[in-house]
Symmetry: C2
Subunit: 567 residues, 2 copies
């Protein structure tokens, strides 16, 4: 158990109250008078120049890491270094203080020890700076003294209309200005996700996962101790930000629940908000208080609020990035009827189990679609949803199946399993099919090698000249596959590439406007998955995660459809 942990750095006149509304429980708070100044977030995300107070030449220091990452991220504005003990930092001339800088400063970063930060805020105020990112720690997260220090910062900032990001933040990222001011060696992909995180480590890790999955970000803010901000401040900006299509929040606590709810309600009818709630449990809520100092807990209040506002909640971190990726890639779903195409019965079973668990309906395929599929699939296909291809290896018939399912009016979402192979599949196949057996034979049956080579060459020649035109028998090992008893078919061979699949799926998403989710179960398929993400198709690492993401986008799609209708 946590033995000594709790400080409540709540704003002075802010207290937590609970109101019962007809629509359910919501969390409300007295709004904080002196925080009500106009935020100038445009200058935070699109500064023409930044100053780093505490800039350093010493690797490992925050004053080194932040400007190095800003340089590495390709920021095109001016970078101004402030360090009274150096003549130059990272090659840039160093200024003694903010006051000594003789050109405009839009945004200030602070990395010096806590005691000196208040002075920097004062200097920033004197220059009319509107945003200060305080990387420095040792504020309210450390005890009563730190709380007082942080309150002092907030008072100065509030008086001058300055927004403090942090203190104790991992930094910010903004795609529009290529500003990558993060405390970790990562450049996020650019894209449509606006992400505010009440944990820096967790936030940066999710940016990395995004990079791997092909999910790009418009903005990122690690809100740190949030000296004079609340989640709703950032939310308001992201709601109106044309660069942000999806909003992602890691949320431990809120100062003003009602404002958050009202803000979210304005946004969700047109822009999805996905939240990962830390401190859901009693124990976790205690840990959250000791971490960010925020009032976590009151799970029912939060859940009610999320439901009222149509906010999509992820249960854990992997689901969070899955759902964010799904919203980022996919068009809106209009219902929850799912069609599933599978190469193997077992995965089909597992996916259907997941559908029932997540409250999705299996689309009922009309007889016209069944008859259409009868034409392209082996006699003993499942003749229903999920469509089990029963080992059929004719790629063109997979494509026709996908066409038929996505065109069907009964289908809102299509899940395609087992179709992505990844470049390495072919390399692996050749390695396993030719190289390894050859060497294995060399080791044990050396005298058979000439015969091996000869029989393989004969078989290959036969395959090349026996360009299959016969339909072939139905069933496993069927007709016109790329390599088989009926010869090599170059069209089939091309269709088996991931590129052919990605192109076809992209075309279908464009023409039907329906979400298609693929399953790429192997690491070697990751590159294809990231490519799909940019083509408007979400790719999940397992069938269960595909289904779970489908359920969340279906739920949101139905909510958004309702809220857009005039009531």
């Amino acid at each position: 158990m946590v033995t000594r942990h709790i400080f409540f750095p709540m704003r002075r006149n802010c207290c937590l109250i609970v109101n019962r509304y007809p629509g359910g429980l919501i969390l409300g708070g007295v709004s904080v008078g002196e925080l009500e100044f106009k935020r100038e977030f445009d200058l935070l995300f699109n500064p023409r120049s930044i100053a780093v107070v505490g800039a350093s030449n010493v690797p490992g220091k925050w004053g080194f890491i932040i400007p190095v990452n800003v340089l590495g991220g390709g920021f095109r504005g001016r970078i101004l270094m402030v360090n009274p003990r150096e003549k130059a930092v990272l090659g840039f001339p160093a200024f003694g203080s903010l006051k000594d800088i003789d050109e405009p400063v839009d945004l200030v970063f602070v990395t010096i020890p806590a005691a000196g930060v208040a002075g920097v805020i004062e200097d920033a105020a004197a220059r009319g700076v509107k945003n200060v990112v305080v990387i420095s720690s040792n504020f309210s997260e450390t005890g009563a003294e730190g709380v007082a220090l942080e309150r002092h910062l907030a008072d100065i900032a509030n008086g001058a209309g300055i927004t403090i990001v942090g203190p104790n933040t991992m930094g910010i990222f903004s795609a529009s200005s290529s500003l990558c001011a993060l405390g970790s060696p990562i450049t996020p992909l650019r894209g449509g996700v606006g992400f505010i995180s009440q944990s820096g480590n967790l936030g940066v890790q999710l940016l990395m996962w995004g990079r791997k999955r092909g999910v790009g970000f418009s903005r990122f803010v690690g809100s740190g101790n949030a000296a004079n901000t609340d989640m709703a401040d950032y939310l308001t900006y992201l709601g109106e930000d044309p660069d942000t299509r999806v909003i992602a929040l890691y949320l431990e606590g809120l100062r003003d629940g009602r404002r958050f709810l009202e803000t979210a309600k304005m946004i969700t009818p047109t822009k999805p908000i996905v939240v990962l709630k830390g401190g859901r449990s009693e124990m976790g809520s205690r840990a959250a208080r000791s971490h960010s100092g925020a009032m976590a807990g009151q799970l029912e209040l939060f859940e009610g609020m999320f439901e009222q506002a149509g906010i999509v909640e992820a249960e854990h971190s992997e689901e969070f990035i899955d759902i964010v990726a799904a919203f980022d890639a996919l068009p809106k779903a209009v219902g929850n009827r799912v069609a599933i195409m599978t190469m193997g019965g077992g995965w089909g079973v597992v996916a259907v189990d997941a559908c029932e668990r997540e409250g999705l309906n299996l689309a009922s395929l009309p007889s016209s679609v069944i008859e259409e599929l009868d034409q392209v699939l082996p006699e003993f296909w499942s003749r229903g949803n999920p469509v089990d291809l029963v080992g059929n290896l004719r790629r063109s018939s997979h494509f026709k199946t996908i066409d038929a399912l996505i065109a069907c009016d009964e289908v809102d979402i299509l899940i395609v399993m087992g179709a992505l192979l990844g470049k390495e599949f072919f390399i692996d196949s050749i390695f396993h099919g030719a190289v390894k057996p050859f060497f294995s034979m060399l080791r044990h049956h050396a005298r058979l090698v000439p015969s091996f080579v000869f029989s393989q060459e004969m078989a290959l020649l036969r395959a090349l000249f026996k360009r299959g035109r016969s339909g072939g028998e139905k069933g496993k090992g069927d007709g016109r596959k790329a390599l088989g008893s009926s010869g090599i078919n170059p069209v089939e061979a091309w269709l088996w590439t991931d590129t052919a699949l990605v192109r076809r799926l992209h075309k279908l998403v464009k023409s039907t406007g329906k979400p298609i989710i693929t399953v790429a179960m192997d690491e070697r398929e990751t590159s294809a998955a990231a490519r799909l993400q940019s083509q408007g198709i979400f790719s999940a690492p397992t069938p269960e995660r595909a289904v779970r993401a489908a359920a969340r986008i279906a739920g949101y799609g139905i909510f958004a459809g309702k809220s857009r209708k005039p009531s």
Copy 2:
């Protein structure tokens, strides 16, 4: 909905009955008389010679894939090819039929079309072969005709005491004989997991995941349509198999529930059984019947059975491989009190939430441990569990924290987060810290480059000659880290490598016998994770999955502890 799907290829005199026992509901079945012959599974998993009936030179055919994978897998026994239309297959002389082979045959694989399989079984029976793996499909999975055909196979086999693996199977793997007879280009890692799967595709995928995660297998069987076997047959063998430490099952249905239960009960006190149950839902159960023809469903019966027998159930496929990996790597847990070390508060919160969800207890750290940690951690550490290192970057103090936590009597399981970095972390850091900023500067501030190079060299020289001996102030950016204001410390630099961490953790597992779970959240940490697996440490990709696996091993540990005590 599945519109036409169901065939019940149940054995003749086998019917499903339900008994109510004092201990809970169990599923029972009349045992099937004519199946009760002695299984000779030693010849299945350790054959001195195999014959492939239907062996082919044509890439893409099962008769090509299977022997090629056997060769690629390094099988050291004799491989005999049977194909009446070829003189040689893959360089080996081809025999006209099984009867023509003039040397002993321990195991037969069949890849020819369904109609001819019965004849092969008869030939095998005449030779006294005890196991036949039927890769061929188009049996009970396709309809009434196929059911009759499969029944005919089973009758011949039962009469001759032959076990049929399949029909419609993806093949088998056995580490002890390096027999990799799979329908997919993969060689599983060798290890202690015995895995029986009622789905071939799912099974092979899990072997691949295992390869990536460093999880090795002793045996794998895709049981296919299971013409004359039931899960309990394989289970009996794996229970007694000294090469198998953990048993993994993908299970859709059972013919004889009572026998399965009784067999499992004999095994679980000493060997864990992990199951992924397909067809849990109403819809999924229908899909399962159309897939493997097995009687799935009756979820409550299965759940009751798993609980009674101490079988660990995974909810989805990723959790399945996680739990199998955890059992494979870790020593037994004796309780459910968990200590968590975290580098970032947010991940700590998320992990604690997961602990509460999964029913784990956070270990309460005694004051002696708190005082020990006070000596090595910054003043404002969380002073409780989870142990939040609050950004402390002194690696030696991380190691001391790990030592103190694992030695504590209140701790049954230790979860270490944020300590694995991966080789690429350092490469990334250099790239972000030196290469990218340099080129960025070249592009925009070319005249500053000489100054940049000079200031960096000066800083590096200063760091090298200022070998830090001062303790440094407590808190973020603390004293003796590898690179920092107090100079370069070579011991610290070495400790920061994954190799140092792996060695330390391995030593602790050996000396304490307690399970340690790490979290490697990044793909680039995968190689370290696989290395840990072989060193007795389980590494999960997220905190939530670490906690979930911890809960399952704790639950099993407590069960096994109870069942070994005399009652």
